[in-house]
């Protein structure tokens, strides 16, 4: 630990001409080592992101079309676009409703698995849908939940006809999608939280047991405070990743030519107003405005989350 601190201190020292040959050598390779990655990143990621902000103030249909300045028109249009507002609300529903579901389940499973036999097997099995192509999962679930699909057929076979509904009808589809997202994603957060919980020394639990704490008290007074930093990182990750979800929903809604409005999120809607759908409409300025809204949403939510979850680090 002390070596580590010493290194950190040395790294942070601002001006140092006295760090010998090693330091000089490393300064010499700094630029050639960093420049290629940095240039590609700036040219193909940061530059288009910046141009996106500019295009969001234009009216533009892409290559060959002259850009016309549109002022705030694109953003004003967002405020009056009912489809966009549904999409925005749906994205927020995923962030918050699915988020709460995922974190509650992930915590419950983490606590449950602390002393369950086969915890590694369970963790492995819960996690694997997360790394499988969301397109493949979406298509498979779409077939599983089709009106005459396996799920409804099973429900009818055991006499639960009342429960067999059209899971993919416009009224139900978004609810089904949200459940699907919770199902696919929870395993990932189980892994993150479990890594945090495993770092807690067991004598904390032994101590609290001697004091007569029940499962919930142990969770509330030991597990949660001691994994707080992991939880806050996981929450930030969820906000960033949930707003980006695209493939899963896209595959769920069929081939995506015209998914029902009720199932659209910001990502789907942006795809449809730019290059997606049967007859792409190439409203690029408008689509860029949506992209900007997504970035603002992410920055805002992450900032709020960090502020809400800020605690003094507990060292143990």
């Amino acid at each position: 630990m002390s070596v580590h601190t010493a290194l950190t201190r040395r790294r942070q020292r601002p001006n140092h001409r006295d760090d010998g040959a090693l330091g000089r050598q490393q300064r010499r390779i700094f630029l050639p080592f960093v420049a290629p990655a940095l240039l590609v990143y700036l040219a193909l990621f940061i530059a288009p992101a910046t141009v996106s902000v500019y295009v969001s103030f234009q009216r533009w249909r892409g290559a060959g079309d002259r850009m016309e300045p549109a002022g705030l028109d694109n953003y004003r249009r967002l405020l009056h676009d009912d489809v966009f507002q549904t999409a925005f609300a749906n994205t927020l529903k995923i962030v918050f409703l699915c988020g709460i579901g995922i974190f509650v389940l992930a915590f419950a499973i983490t606590v449950l698995l602390r002393h369950t036999r086969g915890r590694k097997t369970l963790r492995t099995l819960l996690f694997f849908p997360h790394i499988i192509s969301p397109i493949a999962i979406g298509v498979a679930l779409g077939l599983l939940l089709a009106p005459d699909g396996f799920v409804n057929a099973s429900l009818r076979a055991v006499g639960l006809d009342a429960l067999a509904t059209n899971w993919l009808s416009p009224d139900n589809i978004f609810r089904t999608i949200m459940i699907g997202i919770v199902w696919v994603t929870t395993g990932f957060y189980v892994i993150l939280l479990m890594a945090g919980v495993d770092r807690i020394p067991p004598y904390f639990y032994e101590d609290s047991e001697l004091a007569g704490a029940n499962e919930f008290q142990k969770f509330w007074y030991v597990t949660l405070p001691l994994t707080w930093d992991v939880v806050s990182v996981a929450a930030v990750l969820w906000v960033i990743n949930s707003i980006k979800i695209f493939e899963f929903i896209y595959a769920f809604t069929g081939t995506g030519d015209a998914p029902p409005v009720s199932s659209r999120t910001l990502t789907i809607q942006q795809f449809l107003v730019s290059t997606g759908g049967r007859n792409p409409s190439y409203e690029l300025g408008y689509a860029c405005a949506m992209g900007v809204v997504m970035v603002v949403l992410i920055v805002l939510l992450v900032a709020l989350l960090r502020r809400a979850m800020r605690r003094d680090a507990i060292q143990f």
């Binding site: 040395r10 099995l125 960033i240």
Partner: protein
């Protein structure tokens, strides 16, 4: 509120393996009996098992259905396949774009992953060893990229790539949209990979570099001969995570690639899904899902622990 305890068994080490190993069960085992009587556990453990079994069931259902005759799937959903004839697989591979999609995906993913590692590893190394303020700034710039969704980048990229291909067609008579896709895959994968590898290089001891320098090694040689082999576990993990995420990526492919023979695998699966709704050869569609999923399942069975460690390492800091 700060609780400081002496001699905790696991200090905040950078070692992911230490985090991934569960705490010793020994002393607590004896109390398991009492604990399991709580209603939370009585209900929760079986429910978790049911969940896990459902995941396995879904996978098996897809694989079994892939061997069945198309129209029966909906008329008789509980029937098992009558034979293990791989006809659906050969059909899906040959008659739709899945075969070419598979090859396209393999080539694009392999090329992009290699390039990303080749660019990120040196950058991450000097950034982790950086003694200047600029290295901190650059690291921050890469980390910020993880928070920018593709949707905020994609429109200009789409137009630029259109322009590039028009220009290349006009000047050289040739361009391949798969190259455009490859370029964007590389750029968009850099933030996470640089971040992951920076964390990994930071955990390597500095003494080795000093020793190498004393022995007259140049910095470049030190990196290539000493540090790179040491960082191999980190690089392997980063590569697996890259391959998985690029293999599954679909949005950029949908936007940039228009010709069916250049489709990536997930895109080809979507195309197959579209036509199946008219031909109702559902068995072929299930075979298609298996073709998309199986490589990743194989990688997961083979290197699952690495994937889990990499994810916690990437997120745990």
């Amino acid at each position: 509120m700060t609780i400081k305890l002496p001699d905790s068994p696991i200090t905040d080490s950078e070692d992911a393996a230490a985090r991934a190993t569960p705490p010793p069960h020994g002393p607590t085992r004896s109390r398991c009996g009492r604990r399991s009587s709580g209603p939370f556990r009585m209900l929760g453990v079986p429910l978790t098992w049911i969940w896990a079994c459902f995941n396995v069931f879904l996978l098996l259902w897809v694989i079994l259905t892939a061997f069945r005759n198309g129209s029966e799937i909906f008329t008789d959903p509980f029937q098992l396949p009558r034979s293990l004839d791989p006809k659906n697989f050969t059909d899906a591979w040959n008659s739709s774009d899945l075969g070419s999609g598979f090859m396209n995906s393999v080539v694009i993913v392999a090329a992009a992953a290699t390039t990303v590692i080749a660019l990120s590893a040196p950058a991450a190394y000097v950034l982790s060893r950086g003694q200047r303020r600029s290295s901190e700034l650059i690291t921050m710039a890469f980390v910020a990229g993880m928070g920018i969704p593709m949707q905020a980048v994609i429109i200009p990229v789409f137009v630029w790539m259109q322009n590039i291909s028009t220009y290349m067609y006009d000047t050289f008579g040739w361009w391949d949209e798969r190259i455009s896709l490859y370029l964007i895959y590389v750029a968009s994968s850099l933030p996470f990979t640089v971040y992951l590898l920076t964390g990994f290089f930071r955990s390597l001891p500095r003494e080795l570099e000093e020793a190498a320098a004393l022995d007259g090694c140049s910095s470049f040689r030190t990196f290539r001969v000493v540090m790179l082999p040491l960082a191999r576990p980190g690089i392997v993990t980063a590569t697996i995570l890259l391959v998985i995420s690029l293999w599954n990526e679909t949005l950029l492919a949908l936007v940039l690639i228009t010709e069916t023979d250049k489709y990536t695998l997930p895109q080809a699966l979507l195309g197959l899904y579209g036509t199946m709704q008219y031909t109702s050869n559902w068995g072929g569609l299930f075979a298609g899902i298996v073709i998309v999923v199986l490589p990743i399942i194989a990688v997961y069975i083979w290197l699952g622990r690495r994937i889990v460690e990499g994810l916690t390492l990437g997120a745990g800091k």
